[in-house]
């Protein structure tokens, strides 16, 4: 099995590993995910119908309403948050959202994670070290 290591900047510390769910699109909070189930409800999204719960969410960034953080916060309270986040574009929405979701998160990686990592790959996110370890499926 092929192993790839990406280096980036810590957004939120901590360590977690699990299966990746990847999209090159941005994700909405309000109107984008159902915080009761963790399912992506934005019908125009390529992940529509997929569940973010317990996954390492690899995505371009956040979009939409200022309710973004509140929706991911609520998903954590309901036990359906992702395990970790790896993303490309830092905005206030995604930084605040990652903080209140309280999962390891990394950005500004040396390669585009949404192209290197594929859904189903096994990914270890070490927030404090700013390191993402990918084991291809």
């Amino acid at each position: 099995m092929r192993r790839i290591v990406l280096k980036g900047r810590k957004v939120v510390g901590g360590c977690a590993e699990g299966e990746a769910l990847v999209t090159q699109e941005t994700i909405s909070g309000w109107g984008g995910i159902d915080p009761m189930t963790g399912v992506v409800v934005d019908l125009r999204h390529e992940l529509a119908g997929k569940c973010i719960a317990g996954k390492v969410l690899v995505y371009r960034g956040a979009k939409g309403s200022s309710g973004w953080s509140a929706f991911f916060h609520e998903a954590r309270l309901n036990g359906v948050a992702p395990l970790a986040m790896v993303f490309n574009e830092t905005t206030t929405k995604i930084a605040l959202g990652a903080v209140v979701t309280r999962v390891p998160a990394i950005t500004d990686l040396d390669q585009d994670p949404t192209r290197i990592i594929e859904t189903g790959d096994w990914v270890k996110v070490d927030g404090d070290a700013g390191m993402v370890e990918v084991t291809k499926k």
Partner: protein, 423 residues
Amino acid sequence: MRLKDDEKTMLDGAEGPAVQKAMEMLVRYGEALGAETFVDTTNVGGYMIADMAAKRRFGSLDAVFSEWCLDSDTVVEFPKVKVPSCQFETSMDPDHYLLIGRTQEDRDLYLENIRYLGKMGIQVLCTCAPYLVGNVPVKGEHCVWMESSAVVYINGVLGARTNCEGRESATCAMLTGKIPYWGYHVPENRLGSYLIEVDEDVKTMMDWGLLGYYAGKVVQNKVPVISIKNPKANRDMLKHFGAAAASSGGVEMFHIPGLTAEANSTEEAFGNRLPREALQYGIKERKYAYDMLNSIGQNTNVDFIMLGCPHYSMDQLWSLCSLVQGKRFKDGIAFWIFVPQALKDVAERNGFRKIIEDTGAVLMRDTCPALGRFIPKGATVMATDSAKQAHYLPNLTGIEAWFGSTEDCVNAALTGRWEGSLR
């Protein structure tokens, strides 16, 4: 992050547990952004409204907001806010709670919640457009606002400085007067990135909404510079422009040289850098925006008219009066106009409310259908003069939507049929 003495004091708990929790959250947030310092804010707009499910789950309003707004595992008592703060639009109109499908119990909790905010010193403006009712930040003022249409208005039109904040960061800023110095607080991030040259007349409310919707679609969350010969627009047109651009793309800052606060010329708007791309806006682009906004509508039998997104101003209410005075809308049509309570009170005093409600319409306050996630019972096809509401409401509620001018909407209310077109 490098903390100043007053920030360390708050973090150490000298100002009580709520302020300490707020400062802890802000430090985590600042580190996540990669910010190095905080900036003092003097104007915060946030969202602290609990629903019945949250009240039952957490037990008290202090408990709800400790979790929701401070991200705190322990329940703290909320002190008074440290800097001027206001509440944005909410999820309900307590006068018309039955019309929007809420119970007496929901209304009682809402009123209790509003009293709670009042005691904290939060100004209960309950509007997405605080600048319509006296909260008009000055150029350069560091603000902490939520609500995308308000953020883009005070950044772009007024030259105040805010990022698009969330529920937790806004409340934490209310209690501490601090926010990470990052994004649109930093002058160079406010410069233009895309040039949009307009060779169309942009005159009406609808024109400005279409231009905004197009701009957002093409620049996404970057800073567009709109170049128009002799630009002319009033406050409400710029309100519509910004709300549309924030909906289609996430625009939080823009320049219209000659009209907005921070640039008198295109060169100044780009800070002498070159635009990333130069785009044209003409007949074709205007039609593209109109068609995109009307792509959801199929059925022309309209049963719901929605005006007031962002909340209507007194000027807009007066224009509406002149369109509807003495008329009566078709039976079975719900015609709802959304305003801040302060303006509903003035409209009452002016006699505007009577003129408008004599048609069968209802003036609503504090909320909007998208935020409260409600539509009139049984409604299936909406018409609106708001690009933002036409963009969001079909996604949120499954209703069909038509977008057009206020006149198109009034005509639809009189006949029950959508006959709007691009003129």
